[in-house]
Symmetry: C2
Subunit: 411 residues, 2 copies
Amino acid sequence: MALIVQKYGGTSVGNIEKIRNVAQRVLKYHEEGHKMVVVLSAMAGQTDGLVRLAHEISPQPDPRELDVLMSTGEQVTVALLAIAVQSLGYEARSLLGFQIPIHTDQLYGKARIYEVDTERIMRELERNRIVTVAGFQGLDEDGNITTLGRGGSDTTAVALAASLEADVCEIFTDVNGVYTTDPNVCPKARKMDFISYDEMLEMASLGAKVLQIRAVEFAKKFNVPIHVRSTFTEERGTMVVAETKDMEKVRVSAIAYNKNEARITIKKVPDRPGIAARIFEPMSKPEIVVDMIVQNTSEDGLTDLTFTVPRAEFHQAMKLVGEVAKEIGAESVLGDESIAKVSIIGVGMRSHAGVAQKMFRTLANENVNILMISTSEIKVSCVIDEKYTELAVRVLHEAFGLEDGPAREEW
Amino acid sequence: MALIVQKYGGTSVGNIEKIRNVAQRVLKYHEEGHKMVVVLSAMAGQTDGLVRLAHEISPQPDPRELDVLMSTGEQVTVALLAIAVQSLGYEARSLLGFQIPIHTDQLYGKARIYEVDTERIMRELERNRIVTVAGFQGLDEDGNITTLGRGGSDTTAVALAASLEADVCEIFTDVNGVYTTDPNVCPKARKMDFISYDEMLEMASLGAKVLQIRAVEFAKKFNVPIHVRSTFTEERGTMVVAETKDMEKVRVSAIAYNKNEARITIKKVPDRPGIAARIFEPMSKPEIVVDMIVQNTSEDGLTDLTFTVPRAEFHQAMKLVGEVAKEIGAESVLGDESIAKVSIIGVGMRSHAGVAQKMFRTLANENVNILMISTSEIKVSCVIDEKYTELAVRVLHEAFGLEDGPAREEW
């Protein structure tokens, strides 16, 4: 008898038939004696539709009101799932962010959970009820509705699993696990049985879209095992867990790519202390996340500074950077929206040299020019021209032998 | 400088363009220096759509979950109106039932408001913000969402107006006021400038659909003047107010009809004390509202009992009555779904005889058979065959001279 938190994404609850299927799946677990907490997203397309409505009225709708609007999507699905469970003869109760409550900060549209009350949920579970919980939403300390950002329901699920000390957090989605790379790009991509939190974090932040990055951070912090699996099959998916000894033998686990960034270069920046802080400070207010930053060695007291920002915030960033560049007396600002970031990821990488060189050589063999490089303990990322993305992913996947199962051989 | 509560119905906020129009109308008042609280319904058709979804899953969806589901409709419109107001350069803030809070009992689907906190709304108004309030919804003492029943947004508006001690409560709708009768049935129907709470209550309970009955009761109790008017014109509508001396001169103000009832007759009921209580008790549990009750004089210790129930609950009522009829040894139960109730209404009626007789005579002249009669201080209702409804309304409207303005002549 376990306490299980499950989360079903928008495609898994996209219509009445699918909601019925979710009810049946949840009840199978319930019948086995497990306590079930089920976190739902809005029906696929619903949230986008609501945001479109708001944008029909205003190009920049107020974030507070946008959250009030968007949070209705999950409210609909949790009520419908509760009704579906009840129609099969079991007790169920839906709970919204404000009813639990899920306490967040006040950053509308990308709020962070800082506490989840468990009392109300536990009370419902003790009455043998299945609890359906609206994902993606919380409550700030002034009683305003907040939302957690795209994919926020994953974070809701993991936060609940952590707070309730659940045995496992199952994330049901429309793919059957985490792949060594995007199967749409590389047909030889292989489903992984296990992946570590750190690897998954790199995958998520690189745009692998399977799990929201904050959900993985949460899971890592509280050591919540996540099982990523398909709503439409019974087969096991991928377990996201703390690192194991076995994992360390693997050099490269996966190839990720990200086409959602843009590159900005400031030419001939006066190279003096505090200048970087000066440049990036204006972007911190609107929370533009600057990703890779590369600064060349200085020449005549002038340096070139290059960095990447989310492509959606490229124009805003260019404007802010343009202003600050003028103030500090830089020569010019260049922008490039047609770039991509390709990365190799693996916890085993940290103890083995030669991985980065192999990556560079593989790309060079295909005449793919590397525009920027950044490394961490468990990944190497290269920014390249966007049009070479798919090619790069395929040749790297092959070079590191990922189609054959975990790449443990030496090279 | 007044405090004004306005309420806009579903057709008034049915699309983005209409929501923009509402924003402009509200801002005109705001510009004149008034404090504005705006209560909204869901977009027309939205609530029905949600209820249909629930019924696709279950023939009898759980009332608690239905309320969670339905309350999203108003959440959408209040957020969109706030965004629309903001896009015109003004401050606005949406508030949901749980945020105010609007405290209700726990009768899901037809909850009653017992208290409205004004502190949060007043705080927003003091900051010169326009407050948009989700109608139709409240919060019970366990923190569950409740809804107030069809037309509940009217009640929300009046309850807010009462609690905030507003100067007026304006109900914007798709008709431009309260008419002497249904203009679709009687082209000579005339818009009234004033109507008393009591008359309006009779109009509402008889199915005139302009205002929810509970809203009028609330308004009467707290003496809140209601202005019923059209969203689509600037002209004055109808003021619903306490009775005035002037009104008392009017015999009959309006003709109402209701096709939403059905008639049930229990034949040969043993006529002994407690028998009526025994018959109606089973219907009180599912809250079936029994309207007219007629009991004939007893013959051989047996009597016929006839009453009307909402047509939607006719089958349920027939089942319950059938069971109890058997228990008490009545002969049989007859039901008739094709009846209508036609009523004449007027506060002046109570001090003048002859009004009822005139009604009966008028119907008799057209060979309309009267099946049941009930009277109150300010109305006379006759149940007739449904097919004569329109005819009856037209001849009564003419007989009481309602097309010529308030009928003050003697007859």
